[in-house]
């Protein structure tokens, strides 16, 4: 708080806005994390295979 002006109004519409925003942001952040996990796993496994070969 400390002098910070909230972006979202303290109303039901504000609650709806923050909820929809947070839900979709959460989806995108997790999707992004999922992609990174997939990418890193691919690189790590490829590196492992090369070493074994």
């Amino acid at each position: 708080m400390l002098g910070f002006t909230p972006l979202v109004p303290d109303t039901v519409n504000g609650a709806l806005l923050i909820s929809v925003f947070d839900f979709f942001a959460c989806f995108f952040v997790l999707y992004f994390i999922g992609l990174i996990i997939r990418g890193v796993s691919y690189v790590v496994n490829k590196f492992d295979t090369k070493k074994e070969a």
Binding site: P6, I18, S19, F23, C26, L30, I33, I37, V40
Partner: protein, 374 residues
């Protein structure tokens, strides 16, 4: 006369003289928690200390929750956000993130299961709570105790007790809350689906994962650093393979001790003075709605089941509400009821762990938007 005065002073000094109806109700709740823990075995490691904390704080005159009292010191562990990161350290040290690494697409189930947070948030605002309070109440739906404590301590510290009690009690009562919703949403032929074995995850992947998560999650959402950094530190200690003794201690004895302390601290917030009011009832109802809708929305797994042509059992989606590993265990048990050869627990751990990241993400975004990242 002196004897009479002495008896009077004695009587006034006992708890009996100061008992109110509210104290009796709350002691009744404490006994109920212990009963559920002992006879029904619903997460006894949470319910038994929670019940004892609740009973202790409702015996008048003990002074245990007054500044300097034993329970007051213990409570500072959650009020100052010391114990929640320690719980995450222990959880990290005992958790195998392999199922999530093996099947990263299940991470979306962790996101879907968080709809409950937002339904409770809007519901709380409609009921007249401020947006900060609504955010703290909504996070109950993440079914992640330490994260609920952390977000509530930031957004609405005065509701910490109610939020903590709702979050931890519902987590302990997951085996009662989730199965009816799961059976209602998922038909029996889908519950019977046995999933294929997951690919093995290499040691290197498991070591890279916690470091990667610290970098990615904390760069995106710095406000949740205390919890995610401890979770991933614990996991790196486990997966490094060079700190086996420490990993066993942190994920075992240490976690057990911190759990007893945190559950007792939460129970000690349940004093009749704080709890016997309409706000508590509203928070308890909103928490239940959040858990129920979170379970139902996690069953978006049905969509994944359809997209994978019946290879994914939709039951694993309900584990996306975090509560590691209870929710995964519930998915497994409901699946096992439908098909005796169905072993879903490892598959459900993927969305379950995604749920931890999902709650952290949702909480981090709430803190950033409402407090400007402070």
């Amino acid at each position: 006369m002196l004897l009479l005065d002495m008896l009077k002073t004695m009587a006034n000094g006992t708890g009996i003289a100061n008992f109110t109806f509210g104290h009796i109700i709350m002691i009744g709740f404490g006994i109920l928690f212990i009963w559920f823990g002992v006879t029904k075995k619903y997460e006894p490691f949470l319910l038994i200390p929670l019940g004892i904390g609740c009973i202790l704080v409702n015996i008048p005159g003990t002074g245990l929750m007054d500044p300097g009292g034993l329970l007051w010191f213990n409570y500072q562990g959650i009020a100052k956000v010391i114990l929640p990161p320690l719980i995450f350290l222990g959880v990290g040290a005992m958790t195998d993130f392999g199922p999530l690494i093996a099947n990263p697409s299940t991470i979306l189930l962790g996101a879907a299961a968080h709809l409950g947070i937002f339904i409770a948030l809007v519901g709380a605002k409609i009921m007249g709570f401020s947006l900060f309070e609504a955010g703290a109440i909504g996070i109950i739906g993440g079914a992640d105790g330490p994260m609920a404590l952390y977000v509530a301590s930031k957004l609405a510290p005065h509701l910490l007790g109610q939020v903590a009690v709702a979050a931890y009690s519902y987590m302990a009562l997951l085996p009662l809350i989730q199965p009816p919703i799961m059976k209602l949403c998922v038909p029996e032929h889908e519950r019977k689906i046995a999933m294929e074995k997951m690919r093995p995850v290499s040691k290197k992947e498991k070591i890279v994962f916690p470091v990667l998560m610290i970098l990615v999650v904390l760069i995106l959402l710095p406000p949740i650093a205390p919890l995610i950094s401890c979770l991933m530190l614990g996991n790196l200690i486990r997966e490094s393979g060079v700190m086996e003794r420490q990993a066993a201690t942190i994920g075992g004895v240490f976690l057990d001790i911190v759990t007893v302390l945190i559950a007792t601290a939460i129970g000690s917030t349940m004093s009749a003075e704080n709890f016997v009011n309409l706000k508590t009832l509203q928070i308890v109802i909103l928490g239940l709605i959040a858990f129920a809708t979170g379970t139902a929305s996690g069953l978006l797994g049905k969509l994944m089941c359809w997209m994978s042509k019946g290879k994914i059992n939709p039951l694993i989606g309900s584990a996306g509400i975090a509560a590691v590993p209870m929710a995964a265990r519930v998915s497994h048990n409901v699946g096992l009821e439908a098909n005796k050869r169905n072993y879903l627990v490892m598959h459900a751990m993927g969305p379950n762990l995604a749920g931890v990241l999902g709650t952290a993400t949702a909480g981090g975004i709430l803190i950033t938007l409402l407090l400007g990242g402070l």
